[in-house]
């Protein structure tokens, strides 16, 4: 089981899923219409490290974060 958290303005409660990689996560999240814009513009971190490929394997207990566009300062 992995946990997915939606940071900043996405405003969605965390969810837990039984999946093995980010491809599976992508398929599941694409079914949620409220996330379509966020999937296009958000970066992804696994256990607080940025990830650039959907092939990234996931392990039990991993934390996945979606990071939408930023603007500090």
């Amino acid at each position: 089981m992995v946990t997915i958290e939606f940071l900043g303005p996405i405003g969605k409660e965390p969810i837990s899923l039984d999946i093995d990689n980010l491809k599976d996560l992508s398929k599941i999240l694409q079914e949620d219409d409220s996330l379509s814009e966020w999937l296009e513009n958000s970066a992804v971190a696994v256990n607080d490290k940025m990830v650039s490929s959907k092939d990234y394997p996931l392990n039990d207990g991993d934390k996945i974060s979606l990071l939408p566009p930023v603007c500090g300062g």
Binding site: G8, P9, A45, V51, S52, S65, L67, C71, G72, G73
Partner: protein, 147 residues
């Protein structure tokens, strides 16, 4: 001393910048360059509001500290969480360096990368509500991987 400081609400600029100066003026840094951001009154906002994802912010900051160290410099930063009224401050950064040129160049690069890479989300405060500053926000590197 922690070089990255996060506070609820607007920053006490005098206290923070004086503390940095007092801390580092005896460390033989010939140049201390401070950048202070001030919230402007524009577009009908009463202020700004911020969310921060601290684990990745700390990693990002640590990479900058290493980069500064290679030039015998250090970086300092303070940022607000939550609401920050107009005409107050949400962000201070500084570079302390033995050399003026290094300090001036590093503060420029540091602030620019901060805007593009630090995991902080900005909202306008309009009629007491938070409105995501979508148009002023920048996609992080690797955005869209789940598309």
């Amino acid at each position: 001393m922690e070089c990255l400081e996060l506070y609820d609400g607007n920053l006490d600029v005098h206290t923070i910048t004086n503390r940095w100066y007092d801390e580092f003026k005896n460390s033989n840094y010939g140049a201390i360059v401070t950048f202070v951001g001030v919230v402007r009154d524009e577009n009908g906002i009463s202020g700004l509001s911020f969310d921060i994802y601290e684990p990745i912010l700390k990693d990002w900051f640590e990479k900058w500290q290493q980069k500064a160290k290679e030039k015998n410099a250090i970086v300092l930063m303070a940022h607000s969480k939550g609401d920050v009224p107009n005409h107050t401050t949400s962000y201070i950064s500084a570079v302390c360096s033995p050399k003026r040129r290094v300090a001036l160049e590093l503060i420029d690069e540091f602030v620019e990368d901060f805007k593009a890479s630090a995991p902080i989300w900005k909202y306008d405060l309009i009629d007491g509500k938070r409105v995501y500053a979508k148009d002023r926000s920048t996609k992080l590197q690797g955005a869209g991987v789940l598309q």
